[in-house]
Symmetry: C2
Subunit: 230 residues, 2 copies
Amino acid sequence: MEQDIDFKTFKRVVSLSMEDMCRDLFLENPRGIKIKKEGVAVKNLVKIFNAALAISNEKGFAAMSMRDLSAEAGLSMGALYTYFSSKDELLDMITHQGRMVTARVLLDQVDGIDNPRARLKRAIEAHLFLSEIMQPWFYFSYMETKNLSKTQHRKAIETELFTEKIFVDIISSGCEQGLFREVDVDLAGAALKALLQDWYLKRWKYAKRDVTVENYSVFITNLMESYLFL
Amino acid sequence: MEQDIDFKTFKRVVSLSMEDMCRDLFLENPRGIKIKKEGVAVKNLVKIFNAALAISNEKGFAAMSMRDLSAEAGLSMGALYTYFSSKDELLDMITHQGRMVTARVLLDQVDGIDNPRARLKRAIEAHLFLSEIMQPWFYFSYMETKNLSKTQHRKAIETELFTEKIFVDIISSGCEQGLFREVDVDLAGAALKALLQDWYLKRWKYAKRDVTVENYSVFITNLMESYLFL
DNA sequence: GTCTATATCTGGATAGAC
DNA sequence: GTCTATCCAGATATAGAC
């Protein structure tokens, strides 16, 4: 379990197609979605989510009209409303599903790795690789957080702090074991989080400079280690 | 000129009141604004900008209606439209004015400091202190970039790259002088930029943890130096 | 310069045919 | 399950009184 992982392997192991995620959503949500047949529902959810993410990441969720969405997804407005009861509910659905996957995958990836240095490295890779695969989703969640309903907004903040805590805990245990020097673990964790987020927030920049996700992963790991070891 | 600067001194020296900025805008823009008397125009521009930043940073510019703005600013809708010709123009005005100030202050602050280490420290402080004073403005600009008109959007990206280049150039000169070790200067610059941006993007987090801007400045400087010196 | 009142249009949501 | 047609609340923007 402690062995290294590369992006290709990661992608294969976690297998997070849009279809898988939409199927999960459908199975979790027997009430909200009026459609009965799984095949039809999943196929259309994929179309809806892809369209919503594309338009919203271009000009913002609030600026996306239901007519825009209808055109891009290739479904009539009437059909759209059999999958959610309001535009706000669609927003909540998308972010909710993203959060579930993130938490599950991150915890799963660091599980069983005890050495803090190895654990930190893997956590960084897992976060970056995941956000690479699900970039539109991560970008969307970041930008639309403040537009969520109050309960979903609270959950979004909880998840932000939860994933940050994963990093803080790793750094703390490294300090306790005398492996890392004594640092302000909260600040270190916050900084690491910011660096990981930059990967999906400024993808255009890194793409233009031909920085791959593996390059970036190595760089961030080195940066953090040079601070923690000194 | 090379001496240290603290937040209080910085605040006094750059003196960036909302009023100063609105006066600049008024004097630069004799065409767009229909109001003739400087006193009246500046007073109302301050009210409009404060209101627009407050509402937009709460729920997004697109979700802010002109009625919201009218109520919060204490001006009728008719009066609002004597200061700009459309909601989109208001968006452009706000971001434009913020960019002008940022570029001017940053260049001004590092001017005359030759030693790369001192220059880097000062650039970090200047960016953080500036974004502390103008937090609503910085947050707004970041979140609303993708909603700008095409020309203003292009300018926003140019400014992002311009300020990043200030950091990259400092790091490069440090490497050339053999003061810093050889690193990927573009990645280092991008990372630093991300860390500086986190300060105004997650202010709620740092405020809750009682991290001051000076604390954060010292932390970021140490983090970067531990990577650059090693 | 500022306000009120209003013209005009767009967008979310739904009813009912197929 | 999906589509078309439509309702109507609420949005931007302006005209004209004061």
